[in-house]
Structure formats: structure tokens, C-alpha cells
Amino acid sequence: MKRRQLPFYRRKVGLVFQDFKLLPNLTIYENVAFALRVHGQPDAFIRTRVAEALDTVGLSGKELTYPANLSGGEQQRVAIARALVHAPSMIIADEPTGNLDPATAWEIMQLFMRINARGATVVMATHNREIVDLLRRRVVAIDAGQIARDDRSGRYHDDSSKSQIRAQ
């Protein structure tokens, strides 16, 4: 793919990161709106879509707060709202629960399941055994850059301590 085309490919997916990557000097509303603003969408459209996305992640009413005033789980939900505000068909999450305590991590997973139930594909990289074992979704184990295993409804295996597990 050419470098020029990369931005347009990125608009088809939503990205969620372990460290949230929120902009500290923007409010929650502005952070979520940022993605659409970058795509050059009109203001009215941005307003309705951001409201919908914040409603989906359960953060309606926090629009004017800044990320520093939110808990880790709330910040990650803002990041997820930003990833799904442009209605991508796929959301890629790189260890989204890595910085969160188990209870909050589970809330985030439930949120991902709701998003998945609406039709979006969620690809997630994780080291979290409980989550993988509880969800029993498709698991692709990767070892040293190679696909080691691809189970339709798998568990977290003990065989390699350094493997990354993907659940869908």
C-alpha cells in the first residue's frame, strides 16, 4: 500500500491502545470528535455521532471533562468511543486491558462484546488469561511472529509463556 493511501485505510478501522492515547488538552467531547474532524466531517454530523458514541460507552454527561479527571477505565472507554465514532467495520485493540485492574478490564470486555454484537469485528491482542478463558471466542496464538494456533472457541494455553492470544 502506498503511503498516500494509508490514512484512508486507517479511516476504515478503529484503533484502541494500551496507553489510551487521549489528548490531555482536549475535553472528552473534543477527543472523540477529533477523529471525525480529521476526516473533515461537518459539525452537525460530528455532534450527533459523538453523542451516540459516548452513549454507547456509557460516558454521556462527561463531555466537558478532561481526560486527567477520569479513571483509567473511563479513559479507555473514551478511547473506544473515538475508535468507533466513525462506524468502522473493524476495531483493532492492542492490549486494551493491560493498564487496568481486573474488574475494569472485564467492563471493557463487555463493552467490546456489545460492539461486536452490533456487527463490528473486534480484533484484540491480550495476555489476559481469565478474559480469554471466560469469553471462549476465536483465539489465534502467535509465537515468534508465526501463527501457532487458531481455535474457533479456544482457551489460553499454558504451552508457551510468551505467546500472544487474540480473541474475537
Binding site: 484512508f8 486507517r10 479511516r11 477529533f34 480529521v38 473533515g40
Partner: protein
């Protein structure tokens, strides 16, 4: 519509960035102002010099061909016709011995000399106005081959002076271009580093922009606009300083050095304004473009 919205976003963000890092922005404005003042002085001096040179050019493009006393008038008229037919010649005027003497006496510089003259020692002459200075030498050699010319004092013109002035103006032109090139490089480097500071403060924002699908020009736009803003503000300051100080500088100069015919030329200001503003904007844009380049590729 999308382009307009993106432009509005870029303008907002450039404006904010300019004021948020005011100290750095002002440093850049001051540096570019100084550079543009140097560039403007360079342009003004070049313009003044060509103005002066044009004045001299008008004077020295006139040469006189002295006619020997025993040359028949028909031969003089024939040569006058020949000169008039030459495409390099603008006008030819025949001045008789009597007219030459009258002109000589009329000149106040010759007041003492003209009283001591007995008879008429002056030659009749053909006054030739040559179109281009470069052709003066050719007309001169042509006149020397004409049999009717006074062999002891064939022609008068300020040829050496002319060629020296032409050489000088050429060298000054080269020096001006060299100076301009240095100024351009220095200012681009300054803008580049200013914008790089601004970019560095906002690298996280740029990273997120890129990750949610911003095109390279969307990221670059605000910084390039900020650079243009810096350049135009600097150009406006430099221009107003130059415009204010141009007339007094000229009058001071012509009062001190009277033999050089330098005059205040208000028409040059509009071309100076155009050059400085366009130059400032261009320098700002180029500096930002280079400054932000490394951070845009992600």
C-alpha cells in the same frame, strides 16, 4: 466543503499554536524581520543604483563626431544620412562651427576661457545619440573611418566611464544575488527550527491525528499556515520600517553627495511591498514544510 472545513481547522490550529508559543513565534518574527530588512535594503540600493545609472546612461549615450574644417558640406550630409539609417542610432544633429562656438560660450563653466578665444578653434560636429550604450564603441570606430573626420580629435564620448559603470552594475548585481541567497537560506533555517519546536510540543497530537486517519497535508497544513503567518507579519514590519526610512535616507544622501542624481521613487514601494510580502510568505511556508516533514511521516 471538506476543503473549507479542513482549512478552517488548519487556520484555527495555526492561530492557537502561534499564540500558545508566543515567545518562540516572536523570536522567529524578529529574525525574519531583520532578514527581510536586509533583503529590502539590498533591493532598494540596487534600485537606487540602476536609477543613477540610467541617469548617466542618458548623458553618455551622446557622442560627438568632430568634422575637419575642409570637409565639404555634401560629404557631411551624406554621412549624417548614413548614420540616421543605422538602426543603432537614435538621432543625429549637425552642429556648425558657429553654433558650436555659441554653445561653448553659453556654458558658464567656460566663462574665463571664452574671453581668451580668438577666432573659432572649434570643429563643426555631428551629435549622435546612440540607442544602446553597448553600441557606442562600434559607432565610434565607424566614425573614425569616415574621411571627413578631424584626424587630430576624431570623436568625444565618455566611453571608458560607461564600460566601467556597466561592469560595476553587473558585479553589484551578482553580489546582490549572492547576498539574497544567503538571506534565504538563513531565514528558512530559522523558520524550520521555530516550527520544529512547535511541532515537538504537539507531537502527541500529530501521532493521534495520523492514527485516526489524517492525511499528511491535514497534519502539515496548520504548521505551513503558521509559517506563512510568521513570514507575512515579519514582512509587514520590515516593509513599514523601510517605507518610513526610505525618503529621509534619500534626501540625506542627495544632500551629502550632490553629484549623484538620486531621487525618491514612490512607485518602487509597491514593487518592494509585493516582493517582501511574497518573499516572507514563501520563506515561512518553505521553512515550516521542511520543519514538519520528519514528524509527518508516521
Amino acid at each position: 466543503m471538506t476543503i473549507l472545513r479542513n482549512l478552517r481547522f488548519a487556520l484555527n490550529s495555526a492561530w492557537q499554536s502561534f499564540w500558545r508559543n508566543l515567545a518562540v513565534s516572536l523570536a522567529a518574527v524578529v529574525s525574519i524581520t531583520l532578514i527581510l530588512i536586509l533583503a529590502g535594503v539590498n533591493l532598494l540600493v540596487g534600485h537606487a543604483f540602476s536609477q543613477v545609472l540610467d541617469g548617466f546612461r542618458d548623458k553618455v549615450s551622446v557622442m560627438s563626431i568632430n568634422v575637419a574644417d575642409d570637409t565639404p558640406l555634401t560629404s557631411v550630409y551624406a554621412f549624417q544620412q548614413q548614420l540616421q539609417g543605422d538602426p543603432r542610432v537614435a538621432t543625429v544633429r549637425f552642429v556648425t562651427k558657429e553654433e558650436a562656438l555659441a554653445e561653448f560660450v553659453r556654458d558658464p563653466n567656460n566663462a574665463v576661457l571664452s574671453q581668451q578665444i580668438q577666432g573659432n578653434p572649434l570643429d563643426a560636429k555631428l551629435e549622435v545619440r546612440v540607442r544602446s550604450l553597448n553600441d557606442v564603441a562600434a559607432i565610434d570606430s565607424m566614425a573614425r573611418q569616415w574621411p571627413g573626420v578631424d584626424p587630430t580629435d576624431p570623436t568625444n564620448y565618455q566611453g571608458e566611464f560607461v564600460t566601467r559603470m556597466l561592469q560595476l552594475s553587473q558585479w553589484l548585481g551578482f553580489a546582490g544575488i549572492g547576498l539574497m541567497a544567503i538571506l534565504v537560506i538563513v531565514s528558512v533555517v530559522i523558520v524550520m527550527n521555530t516550527i520544529r519546536t512547535a511541532v515537538y510540543h504537539r507531537r502527541k497530537e500529530i501521532e493521534v491525528m495520523k492514527l485516526v486517519g489524517a492525511t499528511e497535508w491535514f497534519v502539515r497544513g496548520p504548521f505551513v499556515l503558521e509559517g506563512i503567518m510568521t513570514g507575512v507579519i515579519a514582512a509587514a514590519i520590515a516593509l513599514s520600517l523601510l517605507v518610513i526610512s526610505y525618503p529621509p535616507a534619500v534626501s540625506r544622501f542627495s544632500a551629502d553627495i550632490t553629484f549623484i542624481p538620486l531621487t525618491y521613487d514612490p512607485t518602487f514601494i509597491s514593487s518592494l511591498a509585493r516582493d517582501l510580502l511574497a518573499g516572507g510568505a514563501l520563506l515561512g511556508a518553505l521553512g515550516s514544510y521542511i520543519g514538519v516533514r520528519r514528524f509527518v511521516r508516521l
